[in-house]
Structure formats: C-alpha cells, structure tokens
Symmetry: none
Subunit: 532 residues, 2 copies
Amino acid sequence: MSREKRVYLYDSTLRDGAQTQGVDFSAADKTAIARELDALGIDYVEGGWPGANDTDDTFFAHPPEFTRGQLAAFGMTRRAGRSAANDPGLQTLLSTPARVVTLVGKTWDFQCKVALGVDLDENRRMIADSIAHTAATVNEALFDAEHFFDGYKSNPEYALSCLKAALDAGARWVVLCDTNGGTLPGEVAGIVAEVTKVIPGSHLGIHCHNDTENAVANSLAAVMAGVRQVQGTLNGLGERCGNANLISIIPSLMLKLGYETGLTTHDLARLKHVSRLLDERLNRAPDRRAPYVGDSAFAHKGGLHVSAVERDPRCYEHVPPEAVGNQRQILVSNQAGRSNVLARFREIGLEVGAADERIGHLLETVKQMEAKGFAFDGAEASFELLARRELAEVPEYFRLSSFRVIDERRWNARGELITLSEATIKMEIAGERHMTVAEGNGPVNALDAALRKVLLPVYPVLGDLRLVDYKVRILTPDAATAAVTRVMIESADAKGNRWTTVGVSANVIDASFNALHDALTYRLFKSGQKAA
Amino acid sequence: MSREKRVYLYDSTLRDGAQTQGVDFSAADKTAIARELDALGIDYVEGGWPGANDTDDTFFAHPPEFTRGQLAAFGMTRRAGRSAANDPGLQTLLSTPARVVTLVGKTWDFQCKVALGVDLDENRRMIADSIAHTAATVNEALFDAEHFFDGYKSNPEYALSCLKAALDAGARWVVLCDTNGGTLPGEVAGIVAEVTKVIPGSHLGIHCHNDTENAVANSLAAVMAGVRQVQGTLNGLGERCGNANLISIIPSLMLKLGYETGLTTHDLARLKHVSRLLDERLNRAPDRRAPYVGDSAFAHKGGLHVSAVERDPRCYEHVPPEAVGNQRQILVSNQAGRSNVLARFREIGLEVGAADERIGHLLETVKQMEAKGFAFDGAEASFELLARRELAEVPEYFRLSSFRVIDERRWNARGELITLSEATIKMEIAGERHMTVAEGNGPVNALDAALRKVLLPVYPVLGDLRLVDYKVRILTPDAATAAVTRVMIESADAKGNRWTTVGVSANVIDASFNALHDALTYRLFKSGQKAA
C-alpha cells in the first residue's frame, strides 16, 4: 500500500457529534457505536472527553475491545501557569485505557488575547509541554489546532509556530480545525498548501464544520493539498450545522479519488448499514436525500429516465449503488411507464413476465388511483400491497364493518376547556365480529387505538409496530377543508424497518383509516402472517 | 457595478426541484413561490416545462407578473431529423409568456450513441438549430449542456464543440450541468478553466447536483474559475440528493467571496424567511441544521461557548446571523429577541415604544406559545391577532361554548361504504345563545360549515371568506398520531387578500378549531367590524 495514498480516518461522532442539538448518547450507545466504527475500519474512534461528564467517564471506564482501529480520548492542553504533569485535567485524560490522546489548543492570536487572556509565548509552551507529556505517556498524541484557519489568516507566523511546537514535542498528528466552519474550499486548499511547507502532510489532519455546506469539500480539498488524516462524524452529526460527514467523504476518497483508507471494498459496502444504525440508535428518521446512502440517492422518477438508466446506469448513477450498500430505487409516479412498474416489481422481488396481462391492469389501476390523488412515490409499502393484491397474494387479515369517531370540546368539571376523541369500531376477523371503543388525542389516534385493541390479541406480531410520522396534504387547495386529502403514515418495527402507506379520500378520517389499514396489513404480510 | 463581480442567479425550484421525492407543487404553489423568488432578487425563475404536465401548463397560462427577475421556461432541443420550426415541443415552449427559454441537449458522445442513437453531427445541429430558432423568437435562449462534465471527460473536443455551437447560434448562456452529480470540486475547477478558454465566463453557467455532498462547493468552484451564472434550488430541492442549494450559495458569494448578485443586503436578510416559506408551502419540517438559515446554525450550547460568543461572536459565528435573517440562539437560556418582536410590530404597522412594558409581556407569551409548538413565522395573521389582543384592540366577536363532531363510516342503503362527518356547535354572540349542526367532508370541514351557519347572518362580511389551504404537521413525530399537532390554515377574501393562522393542540380537531377561529376573527377585524 503506497503511503502517500493512505488516508487515516478519525471519527468524532461520540465527542463532537454528541454536541448535536437533541442528541444524547448513553454509555451503552457509545459502546455500540464504537464497536461498529471499529468493525467498519475507522482508524481512530474518539470516545469522548474523560472527566467532562458521567457518560464519558462510564464509557472510558470499560471501553469495548478494538480489533482494527484505536480508541482516542479528547481533552485540553494544560492550563496556563501549571506544569503538564500537575494538571488535573491532563492526569484524568492520560489515566484511561485509551492509548491515543487528542489535545485541543489555541493557535489564533486574537483568541489567546481576547478569549483566554494568555500570553502568546505561554500559549505555545502550553501546547509543547502538554504534547510532550502526553506523547511520553501514551502511544500517540494528537494536537487539534482550534480555529487554525482564522488564526492563520490573522497571524500566519504565530499559528504555524504553534503547529511546529506540537510536532517537535512529539505529536503524531497536527489537526487543522475550522472551528466556526466559515472557511471555503479555495482558502482551505491555499492555506494547507502553505502549511505543508512547514509540516509534512503525513502528519497533518483536517477537521471541518458544515456552516457553509462545504465541510465535505473542505476535507477533500485538504486531502488533495496533502493532508493525510480526515476527522468527521457519521451522518455529519455535530453542533450547529454539523461536522464533516464521513459517510460522504469515505466513498469519494475511495471510489473517485483513488485514496486508500482502513476500509476494504467489502467494508465500504456496509456504509449504508452503519449510517442507518446510528439513526436507529438516535431514533431519528434517516435522511432520504443523504448522498451515497439515502433512500433517494439512487432513485429514478419518470419513464424516460428509467429506460435510460436501465440501458446504461452511468447516465444517472455516478457510482454503482451496491458499492456503498445502497440500491437503485424506481419510483412509481404519474410519469411512470411500464418499464417503471416492471423495474419496481423486480426490486420488491416479484417475478412477473413483461407480457403478463396483469401488468397492464395494474398500470391502469395505478393511473386511476394517481388521478384520484394517491402518490406511490413516497409510499412504497402501499404500492407493494397494491401489486401483490393484483397477484392475489395478500390475505384479508381483518375487515372493518363500521366505525364512529366522536370529538367533543366542552368544559369539564374543573372548569377547563377540554377536547376528547373517542372511536368505536366494528370489525370481522375470521368470520367473528368484534366491537370495541378507545380514546385518543384526536380522531385518528383514537381509531388507531381501537384497531389495535381488537387486532393485538389475534396478531401479537403487531405489538412492536409504531407510527413514526403522520402527514396530511390537501390536494385541491382551492376547495380547502372540503378538498380531497392525502394522508401518509410512516411506521416502524422493533428491527428498525420503516415503511410508508398512503390513503386518499374526501374525508380525512377515511383517508387516515385507509393508510392505517395498509400499515397494519403490510406489517402482517411481511412477517409471513397467515390470515386468522 | 463591476461586470466581472456580478453573478447571475437562476432558480430551478419549480422545475428540477419538482422532481424531489414527495414534492408535488400545485399551480398555486408555483405562482406563490415564483413571486417570492422575484421579490428576493433572483435573476431567472424557471417555472417548469410547458407541455410536460397539467400543472406546468396551468402555471404558464397565467404566470405572475415579474418586477425584478425574468420567468424562464424549460424544454428540449428539437428531435432528430426535424426542423426546429416544425418541432411540436419547441412550438409549445416558445408560445408561453416566458421570454427566457432554456433548452437542454446532449454533449456526451457516449450518451448520444447509447441513450439516443443519434449521430454526433446531427446532435450538434439539433443544438444549433434549436437555439437559433429560440433566440430569434424570445429575449434570451439558454443552453443546458446535460452531462457536460462526463462528456468533457469522455471527448473534450466534441463536448466543447457543442457548447460553441450553442453560443454561436445565439445562446445568452451556456450552462455546464453535472447531471448525475458525480463530479468533485477539483475536477469542476479544472474543466471550467479549460472551457473558459473557448467560451467567455460571462456566458457560462453551472448546474450541480448534490450526490457527493459537493453541489455547493462545485458551484463556488465554477464561479471562482470564471462562470457567471449559478443554477440551483431553494433549500437544495431536487431529485436524488438534491440540486445545489441557492440558500447556501448566495451568502457565501456575497458575504465571503465579494461577488454581487441581484440581491441587495436587505434582500439577503430575508433569506431565512424565503427558505421557511418554501418549507411551509411543502408542509415540510425546516432543517434545523441548514447552513446559514437553520435554527441551529447559530445555536450555542454550554456555558463556555456562550460566554466566548458573547465576548466576541467571531469565535463561533462565521457571519453575523442577522445578515441572512437568522439569529443567535443560546440553548441554555433561551434569550429570544426583543428587537425581533419590535421589528415584527413595525412590519404589521403597530407603533409601540421600545420601552413599553407590554412588549415584555408579549415576548413572554410568544416564548411560551412557541415552546408549545406555535410557529408564527408562517402565520403572520395569528401573530398580529396575538399582538393586537395584548393591546386590547381585538373584540371577541363570538364565543364557542362547546362542539361535538361525529365521523361515521358505514354502509348506506345502496350498499356503498360511506363516511359522514357532522358537527354540532353551541356558541354565544352578543350574549345570545346559538346552536346548530352541519355536515362536511371531514370533521374540520363540518366544523367550519357549522360556524359559518351561525356567523353569516350576524356578520355578512364573512360571505366571501374562503379557506384556501389546510396543513397539518406533527410536532413530535416519534409519538406519531398521539403527538402534538400544528394546523395552519390559509384563507382568502374576494379581493385576493390571503392570511395564515395557526392552531396547536394535542388534539388535531382542537388545533383546527383554533386556527379557524383566528381566521374568522382576522377577517372581521381587518374589515373594521365591531362586535355584534
């Protein structure tokens, strides 16, 4: 492996990523994600900041075993006016099992003076002493140069002298951080080119934030200018607009720019899986539009495009989707032709001959339904049910006879204005009549509660089904509340599978019921359930 | 204004953005968004593809008046073996009111041969003929060179000869498209530099897709290499991973790279508003982490950062948030802006002194309501009512005592499955009790019908009120149908005034009623109606 083409990956999901608004890792989350990063082939996995909070202390007390990469701990250079050996923060940091330690320090003269009130020479000594002490204690010491690009623009000599001090003191890597995320790729390339005249690229890292939507480009620009370590996070997690997204950087480095990383091509094909795993841990909806790994990343709409893609994928796919563990998705939309429908069939594993007359019939049904306002684009589960019903594969698990939902706003006994929703349903399962009533925070929620009350004892597999999103859209806005409504429901099971169903009706409750019906049926069908 | 520093902006939200999975613009949406783009200072607003579908035909039949920019129509070069003048597609395209027409054509030899089966010379003639015919008919002809970067890499001479043919035939702009989104910034810079040797940058445009998360960087790289038109979409809408995000590109061009656009600094400060407006139209949750305009883009967590930011914002803010209409957000102590509220007051024509104590009280109320899920950004009418109620200016036109809505799905006498919604309301007007019942196509429609049945005889001015849009958003998606819901209702009167109101509640019917209540009250208040 040629040394110049090897780029080292440093993941900060568990430290900088933990700063994301709404993200709150447990120590168990950290352990699971660290294992996954190690298995993927990431060289350095930053676990957190020992001493900063209980979660990080718990994690570092018993970190997972690493088989391919190394665990890194993050902390600060020593305080002003102390020796490195007597700095309590550094002592905590160096006492964990992590044998790689990353220290952050200042290189921006303005920040030293204004934010810290520290003399420039003392700041540089803080870097040198701390790195020397760390390098003598663990396997690798890294220096994160906070605000380096701002520092370089303000006072290049001073900023470079800080990097040099770290390198001379034994830092394995000196990492250039664009802390406030404001530097553009052209500047990064220019400044890194200057830095490499003083520090060899084989000792340089880059750490970018996405405040101008250029974190990925800045990281690639730095690598092309000579840097050989890239820091980032899974799915671009991080405070404000996020850190550089390793999930986007890795395939561009490996598939397009010819660099080598710790990942094999086999590992690369697990990229989508790892991206999803993080979302599942955080209980976040995956970003459909994520480069390389999003569900829409290789989605094709419209008959013309589709036949072009099938003739030669290069026209509309910049890499083979399988290379990153993704797959081509053919959307069924009102622009759909026969080739879309056939392609979609193959995707869901349905083998139907191109000449099968049922295709023509299904196409006709799809067109009629779309004219009524159905959108199968975002509702693949409803499309699959429709197709499989055409082939008579889907049992009728339950049959609704009637429902009634009452929403009532009134003053309760304590003089509060309250609104209650209550649903009564009558349904048939295996020839037997069921009738029940349930309350909810609205008519649809009440209906959902009543349906489950009847279905769960018969079909326990529905126990882990959750509704994760509910969207209503008015299709002919000029008729407003009297218009046709389209309801999309996204559901999930305990394994992290997600599927979307659609219902359309002049009555929004009716549309919601239809989407709910498909959501439940899809779960039953996919679990191989027979009709009761 | 120096010509070399002027970059022209071309928005494709209504055409390429319409390809986004799950996005389905109505003609009314298109008109509203086109108006907003024109008001922002975008040079070219691409409205769609005349002849491609009913929505685009409806839009182009009566497009809005433009005051600053120009409307563009998109289509294809003529078919092989036809004259441009006799090509039906071109005829449709040239017959709309749009005086700028953009034609897409091939420049990739591989694609001509494989996807089209067209001879390379004939392909180049198709470009030249179509552009010449278009340039002679409308004000400006643009040539979109599909797959240009792939084409250049495959056969640079041929790709360049196609561009040259378009320019020589009278194209105002030749636009380099990275159609499958696979080109990286370094390559874009290198290839554009070569192209500018043949075509002057003042005639070159760039059109990027985000498949490697580099669409913004690619666009900036092209501008820095000489290109003077940038194509993109609001919020990066577009198929697969999206198009280049103009919302991120514009501030980097203007605030960081010193370029001029059609936007003034005053326009730039409306950027967040425009970004939000699109999300509201599409009923999408805004992306918190969006560069420049996201709620988290200038959010600061934790004491250290916050005091550093307050000592000097440059440490953690790469541009002043106000420059793009955003604001700093301190996550620990949520300090909302007094000046923001004052600015909103001025906007609705309310003169209140900065020292007025009612401002503090209103600020507190707004904060509490926003914490509950109210969003006044897209619901100015509800905000105005809230503010005017604080100043005791809004009469109580009617008071609801209670309502009950029943939705029933059952088999009717003819054996059809029908769903009926029926609302009963009790209310007080001028001390008198009213009780009525009405039917509708859903609970909200029934409620609306019952309200009007009572109100219209008392307040005839409500006769021309129409509800033009109704949107529901779930605010805590992980609780799905049991979550808090926000309802936005857009209303209009016969004069074409439109206003949006908001209601929030755990119960969707309750939220809808509150938004309806505000919609009716706003109409009464604005017409100068006294309480009955």
